[in-house]
């Protein structure tokens, strides 16, 4: 009993530290984002609470000596890139996982080749890609070379998620559809897709968030037009103002909104799956 208590304390402290490290930066960032402006800097104490830096980010503050964050276009680029990566990566992931449902010759090798995309260090991959692009006179752009590397990076995640989903998928549902005279394409649309939808959703979330804050690959291959993470990094080189923190809070809130949508959609389809599997257990019993 005594040992158990000791263990409990250790685990408790560990968890508390974990939470502090996880949320601490965000809390500090949030507090500092309400610093007085434009004179207040990114450090304690708070001179006076204000929403100046939020107005600054949204370009509705009085003009001041602090230049606006160079993020307007970068944000659009990052969102576009993340969206395209999400679509392509999920599509590829679903199709290749579908291919892996049958055992084909060399499937083991292909599996590791795909997974390699998320194992190889980003800096190496980015550097390599930059060298290759220069060698062949290919312009380095965020929508070209960087986009390709983003897909190489997120595709394995989508692939693994979809593989797990297909592993639990009851193949006889598709077979039942075929035997009713429905061709494979329509069967995929009407039967397979609704069943694998939770996986598609997870794959989309993975791909989007991974691409959105991807740094090393983009740094080397993105060319002169910066994406969000690169643009923010660029501002560190000059002087940091709390407007960066205000922006951080806003994007984090946007991420939470995204996660909430994901959670709601997921809960809906998981509830369906749960009912389904409990029905199955009843059948077996």
């Amino acid at each position: 009993m005594y040992h158990l208590n000791g263990l409990r304390w250790t685990l408790g402290i560990f968890t508390a530290l974990f939470l502090v490290f996880l949320y601490g930066p965000f809390v500090v960032m949030t507090i500092l984002s309400f610093q007085q402006g434009p004179e207040g800097g990114p450090q304690f104490p708070i001179i006076e609470w204000s929403t100046f830096w939020y107005q600054h980010v949204l370009s509705i503050a009085e003009p001041s000596r602090v230049a606006p964050l160079p993020i307007g276009e970068a944000l659009i680029r990052s969102l576009t890139l993340a969206f395209a990566t999400m679509v392509v990566s999920t599509l590829l992931g679903t199709l290749s996982a579908q291919a892996f449902r049958q055992n084909f010759k060399g499937s083991g090798v292909v599996f590791y080749l795909i997974v390699l995309g998320m194992m190889v260090p980003g800096v190496l991959l980015g550097l390599g890609m930059a060298l290759v692009a220069d060698q062949f006179d290919i312009a380095r752009t965020w929508w070209g070379t960087a986009f390709v590397l983003h897909v190489v990076y997120t595709f394995p995640f989508s692939f693994l998620v979809m593989l797990a989903i297909f592993n639990r998928f009851d193949k006889s549902l598709e077979e039942a559809s075929w035997m009713l005279g429905v061709d494979p394409v329509k069967t995929f649309r009407k039967i397979t897709f609704p069943m694998i939808f939770p996986g598609v959703l997870s794959s989309m979330l993975f791909a989007f968030t991974l691409s959105y804050d991807e740094f090393p690959r983009t740094l080397f291959t993105g060319g002169s037009e910066a994406t969000m993470p690169i643009a923010i990094y660029g501002t560190f080189a000059v002087e940091i103002h709390p407007n960066l923190f205000a922006f951080g809070v806003l994007t984090t809130l946007a991420s939470f909104a995204l996660l909430t949508i994901y959670g709601v959609l997921m809960a809906l389809s998981v509830r369906r799956a749960k009912i389904q599997s409990s029905g199955l257990q009843e059948e077996i019993a």
């Binding site: 055992n103 009851d170 006889s172 549902l173 077979e175 039942a176 559809s177 075929w178 035997m179 009713l180 005279g181 429905v182 061709d183 494979p184 329509k186 009407k190 039967i191 609704p194 069943m195 369906r272 009912i275 389904q276 409990s278 029905g279 199955l280 009843e282 059948e283 077996i284």
Partner: protein, 369 residues
């Protein structure tokens, strides 16, 4: 136009791993026939059914439906429909949507679809759950929905893979009856897979007994029961006494066989071609035809005795009596008999008993196993 609805010609299947699941399966099924595949688990029943449905590729041989070779025709273009063991109900659709699904791809007018769905819901007693989803259906309802979904597209052949396996015993019995009536009234060819021999015997017009991927025997249920052609069938179907021995002579379709339990004379032979003198052969006696009496009650007028032994145990299970008997040479026997008749014999364990049957009820099959 062929006279057969379904023909299997030397149909064989070897799985990529090298497992031979089905070998040289020959079968001809007439329109409206109810055929069962029966055999122990792993003997290739499902594989054969899936090849007929087009869900499994054929290694060699042919499948013909109404004379047309469909060996390479994809599932969705075959006039067959399948009831899966787990029913494979589409969980994201209601009962009606499940049934409509196969009709909607057939270019039918909406009112025709609605009428057909309504009719089949009515026929299979599903009208009340028409807008329910799989999760709220009982086992029996799921089973009927699977049937409705398959029947509404009016297949020429319905394939059923152990469709009653997931149901409890009582429900099983009543659905067996319904299934038989349904098949009669629709006059659709049924190919029914089961590992329960009693189910096959009570439902089918003909039964295919399978063993290790090969057909052992194709017969009508009664014949299968009374005239097994192989020791495997004799063991698998019904409850038979089997005495392995050597064939001594066959004269005019009557065999004489020497076994360790004794000499059997004048036993009808039904597959004379495969039997030769001195070869291994087994005498099979369906236990229903064996009468058991107490030896001390023996009378002058009693018919000749088949075998003598000692009753070890007797159990009454419903309408059946299970007897365990040790023969003179200690060979143990298990016998299933009619409970009422056996009760009237006043059998007591430990007593000497006589076993009798009419000679022509027995049969000879080649081999021992």
């Amino acid at each position: 136009m062929s006279e057969f609805d379904l023909e299997l010609v030397r149909l064989s299947k070897t799985y990529p791993g090298g497992a031979v699941a089905v070998r040289e399966f020959d079968l001809q099924v007439k329109q409206g026939e109810f055929v069962s595949f029966v055999g122990p688990s792993g003997c290739g029943k499902t594989t054969t059914l899936r090849m007929i449905a087009g869900l499994e590729s054929v290694t060699s041989g042919h499948i013909k439906i109404r004379g047309e070779d469909v060996t390479t025709v994809p599932t969705e273009k075959r006039p067959t429909s399948t009831i899966f063991q787990n029913y494979a109900i589409f969980p994201h659709m209601t009962v009606s949507q499940n049934i409509e699904f196969g009709l909607k791809v057939r270019n039918l007018a909406t009112n025709v679809i609605d009428r057909k769905v309504g009719e089949i819901l009515e026929k299979l007693d599903l009208s009340e759950v028409a807008s329910a989803k799989e999760e709220s259906l009982s086992g029996g309802q799921k089973q009927r929905l699977a049937l409705a979904r398959s029947l509404v597209i009016e297949p020429e052949i319905l394939l059923l893979d152990e469709p009653l396996g997931a149901l409890d015993a009582n429900l099983r019995k009543s659905i067996q009856e319904e299934l038989k009536l349904l098949q009669r009234s629709l006059n659709i060819t049924f190919v029914f897979v089961t590992h329960a021999q009693s189910e096959a015997l009570s439902l089918s017009d003909r039964v295919v007994v399978m063993n290790a991927g090969a057909v052992e025997q194709i017969s009508e249920p009664l014949e299968l029961y009374t005239r097994p052609q192989t020791p495997f069938t004799a063991r698998f179907i019904g409850s038979n006494l089997i005495f392995p021995g050597k064939l001594q002579s066959t004269a005019e379709g009557n065999a004489s066989v020497h076994t360790s339990t004794g000499q059997f004379e004048g036993i009808p032979v039904f597959e004379a071609g495969t039997l030769s003198k001195g070869a291994d052969a087994s005498v099979v006696v369906p236990s229903e035809f064996v009468d058991v009496t107490v030896s001390s009650d023996r009378q002058e007028t009693s018919s000749p005795i088949g075998l003598e032994g000692t009753l070890i145990d007797i159990d009454f299970v419903g309408r059946d009596a299970h007897l365990s008997i040790a023969l003179k040479d200690e060979t143990p026997l298990r016998l299933q008999s009619d409970a009422t008749v056996m009760k009237s014999r006043n059998l007591v364990p430990g007593e000497a008993v006589d076993l009798r049957w009419q000679t022509n009820r027995a049969t000879v099959v080649s081999g021992h196993t």
